[in-house]
């Protein structure tokens, strides 16, 4: 057990896996010599060599397509998109080839695509997105969003083990901000099982990624006012823990769905609809969503602050719910 940042947990987890299984290799832009734009793979090429830590050309299609072919041939690639935003360049490979091979041809495609996602540091429109929902919509892909260092490692290990294409959204803004104890040994964190981040009785917050911490702060504020807020960290979107969410809803009867991604078509809609369908008689208030608005991610700090849900936004929303 050692205290690690979110980034260190990812890096150590990956390294551990690559030591354990020679089939695993890393490929992406600047992951080798440079150690990755965020230094997740710092020192990897020295240890594993240039054919297991591959500096690819600037070619997301070649990266993802290459991983697909290599995975079909028995290797376990872990690709890195330099920014999650660039996944759109490889959309076709993911959605057309990787997602559908198992269903159509019985051929599994065990790949992991690591996606540094999220904003909060003036990254602008193309370095700050959370493009999770459009992929959650494609049958055949799995979507994973750790919020804590412990889950970051465990979910990565599970992702590498999983015989399906897994999109692993690691939130850039958590890389160095969040520290926690992470077990040294190898462990897996199951997909489709939410983590109770904070227990409460009055209102439930269903969220993931960096928003877990925003919700946490808001919950602390409300505690001072005598309102008990439950925060449920979904951890994975495909599959997602329906049962866990509905249990929390039945307990508090008031629920807020919170995500950093934009509003329309965001994954929160799926969760809200499911709650309305399956827990209608347990609701004491409408299902509320707090999300980013339907705009590209703006650059200038006051704009970005208005874009990304802040602690005050969440606290206000929770209070409204509590008072309903």
């Amino acid at each position: 057990m050692a205290e690690k940042t979110y980034l260190q947990a990812i890096s150590d987890g990956l390294r551990q896996e690559m030591r354990r299984d020679r089939r695993i290799f890393v490929i992406g832009e600047d992951v080798g010599v440079y150690g990755g734009a965020f230094k997740v793979t710092l020192g990897f090429q020295e240890e594993f060599g240039p054919w297991r830590v591959i500096d690819s050309p600037l070619s997301e299609t070649a990266i993802v397509g290459g991983c697909t072919g290599a995975a079909i041939m028995g290797l376990r690639p872990v690709a890195e998109m330099q920014f999650a935003d660039f996944i759109s360049c490889a959309w076709d490979q993911l959605v057309t080839v990787a997602a559908k091979q198992r269903y159509r041809a019985g051929t599994p495609v065990p790949i992991v695509v690591r996606l540094p996602s999220g904003g909060g540091f003036s990254g602008g429109p193309f370095h700050s997105q959370n493009p999770e929902s459009s992929f959650a919509h494609i049958p055949g892909l799995k979507v994973v969003c750790p919020a804590t260092p412990e889950d970051a490692k465990g979910l990565l290990v599970t992702a590498i083990e999983d015989p399906n294409p897994v999109l692993y959204f690691e939130h850039k803004h958590l890389y160095r901000r969040i520290k926690a104890d992470v077990p040294d040994d190898r462990y897996t964190t199951p997909f489709g099982q939410a983590r109770l981040h904070r227990e409460g009785d009055d209102v439930s917050v269903i969220t993931w990624g960096a928003m877990v911490w925003t919700a946490d702060e808001a919950a602390k504020q409300l505690e001072g006012d005598g309102i008990s807020v439950e925060v449920l960290d979904l951890r994975t979107l495909v599959p997602w823990d329906r049962k866990g969410v509905l249990e929390s809803v039945r307990k508090t009867s008031k629920v807020l769905v919170l995500h950093e991604d934009t509003h329309t078509g965001g994954f929160g809609g799926e969760i809200a609809a499911t709650i309305a369908e399956e827990a209608f008689e347990d609701l004491d208030a409408p299902v509320k969503r707090i999300t980013a608005p339907d705009t590209p991610v703006p650059f200038s700090p006051p704009l970005e602050k208005a874009f990304i849900p802040q602690v005050e936004d969440v606290a206000t929303g929770l209070r409204e719910l509590a008072e309903y």
Binding site: S253, E281, D282, L283, D284, E323, Y324
Partner: protein, 482 residues
């Protein structure tokens, strides 16, 4: 590949993903000709391409089902190939089910079995009160200030589970709303002592499916659905199947018949039926009609019947004797300033009668009434009546006289209080006064009008005076005045 002992269908192929139909341009083989497997059998044309279709089987072309020049959907059977020497299959009965449904359509006015939908010739009840929801769910609860507030699903559920009246629970939510916490606390504190209020009986059945159509002969059953919320008896349960004894044939009642049966019985049970009969000398009407009939036909295309005259005269009489056009509701008498005149129309084949209504007939003159009668009769016979056409009647005229009856005792159509039966027009010898005041015998066209009325409201004297006026209207019919 079809073997030579089986029959094979030839179908229109789909030549391209977006193609949905094809046209036969040429049959390369005719019925009776031999064909080998894969040999070109016909040529087709589609949006995308023209091509030959190779035969899927070998043998003989038994049947060609679609002709050259016809366009059909992909997958349609075009031909049948059979082994040489086999008989052609019997031609498929063209959609027999569709045909049967068509045949059933004439029943349409009443054919549907007891369903919640109003039938065209019925007058559906006023919408039945909504089924009583679990206490407090749909009904707005009130807080102390008497305002209506919203009850959320979970509160409604908990309230119904524990038999709690949400109105009794103090609310701490927005606007005084009862929150989940509030009701849970209430329940746990033991205040939810009252037993669940008995849920009222399930709502009366939505318009009963009787299709009370007056039959042709004497007891003319009225034809409305009840307006009162009193639950009407639902159509009787089908009796357990009884086997026919020798000489018997058993056929279940259809919905229309069931409806008539129910309504007749109920009407007799409701009203205090009395019938009075008046003889009317229609000579004046006959003369006027003779004169006007060709004119009406030529100028207006309207057939002028005796019924039109009678209807017109009746409406005039109703003005002075409004209670025959009224309604009893409980212990209240409801008179109406309008006359929605129901006219009984016989359906073909003795299948029953339907009574469409001429709305606001009080505003129509002779021509208007004549036209109205022709219109509803036509539409009734051609099954073009809408539910609105058979609702809201205030007085009904039925006309079995065409068959020769001279007296009838019609049954009132609820909730009306009277019904007028028009009997046969018969030339009779009658006693009249000649110019010098002497009694002589003359031959006059005579018609009996029989009024059944509800003695709860209309007394004999009233009815008689109404009929007297009606007679006077007819015997002194002045075409100028009408």
């Amino acid at each position: 590949m079809a073997s030579s002992t089986s029959v094979t269908d030839v179908v229109m192929p789909q030549m391209g993903v977006s193609v949905s139909e094809g046209t036969i341009t040429k049959w390369l083989k005719q019925e009776g000709e031999e064909i080998a497997a894969d040999e070109p059998l016909l040529e087709i044309s589609t949006d995308k391409v023209d091509t030959e279709v190779p035969s899927p089987g070998e043998g003989v072309v038994q049947q060609i089902l679609v002709q050259e020049g016809e366009t059909v959907d992909v997958g349609t059977r075009l031909a049948v190939i059979g082994p040489a020497g086999a008989e052609a299959p019997a031609p498929e009965a063209p959609a027999p089910e569709a045909a049967a449904l068509e045949a059933a359509a004439p029943e349409a006015p009443a054919a549907e079995p007891a369903a919640a939908e109003p039938e065209p010739e019925q007058e559906p009840a006023a919408p039945p009160p909504p089924p009583e929801p679990p206490p407090a769910a749909a009904e707005p609860a009130t807080d102390g200030a008497g305002e209506k507030t919203f009850v959320s699903p979970v509160v409604a559920r908990i309230a119904s589970e524990h038999g709690v009246d949400v109105a009794q629970v103090p609310g701490s939510g927005r606007g005084g709303r009862v929150t989940k916490k509030d009701i849970v606390a209430f329940v746990e504190s033991g205040q939810a002592a009252a037993p669940a209020p008995a849920a009222p009986e399930a709502a009366p059945e939505a318009p009963p499916a009787e299709a009370a159509a007056p039959p042709a002969e004497a007891p003319a059953p009225p034809v409305t659905a009840p307006a009162q919320p009193a639950p009407p008896a639902p159509p009787p349960e089908a009796a357990p199947a009884v086997s026919a004894a020798a000489g018997e044939e058993i056929v279940p009642m259809n919905a229309m018949r069931r409806g008539i049966a129910e309504h007749m019985r109920r009407s007799l049970d409701t009203a205090a039926h009395v019938t009075t009969v008046f003889e009317i000398d229609l000579s004046k009407v006959v003369a006027i009609r003779k004169k006007l009939k060709p004119e009406y036909e030529e100028s207006y295309g309207v057939n002028l019947t005796y019924l039109a005259f009678i209807a017109r005269a009746t409406i005039e009489a109703i003005k002075n004797w409004p209670w025959v056009n009224a309604e009893i509701r409980g212990e209240q008498i409801v008179t109406k300033r309008y006359v929605n005149l129901g006219i009984a129309v016989a359906l073909e084949g003795g299948m029953g009668l339907i009574v469409p209504v001429i709305k606001n007939a009080e505003g129509l003159n002779l021509l208007g009434i004549a036209r109205g009668i022709v219109d509803v009769a036509d539409r009734a016979r051609n099954k073009k009546l809408t539910p609105d056409d058979v609702q809201g009647g205030t007085f009904t005229i039925t006309n079995p006289g065409g068959w020769g009856a001279i007296i009838g005792t019609p049954i009132i159509s609820q909730p009306q209080v009277a019904i007028l039966d028009v009997e046969a027009l018969v030339k009779r010898p009658v006693v009249v006064q000649d110019t010098s005041g002497q009694d002589v015998i003359a031959i006059r066209p005579m018609m009996n009008l029989c009024l059944s009325y509800d003695h709860r409201l209309v007394d004999g004297a009233y009815a008689a005076q109404f009929m007297k006026e009606l007679r006077e209207n007819l015997e002194s019919f002045d075409e100028g005045a009408y």
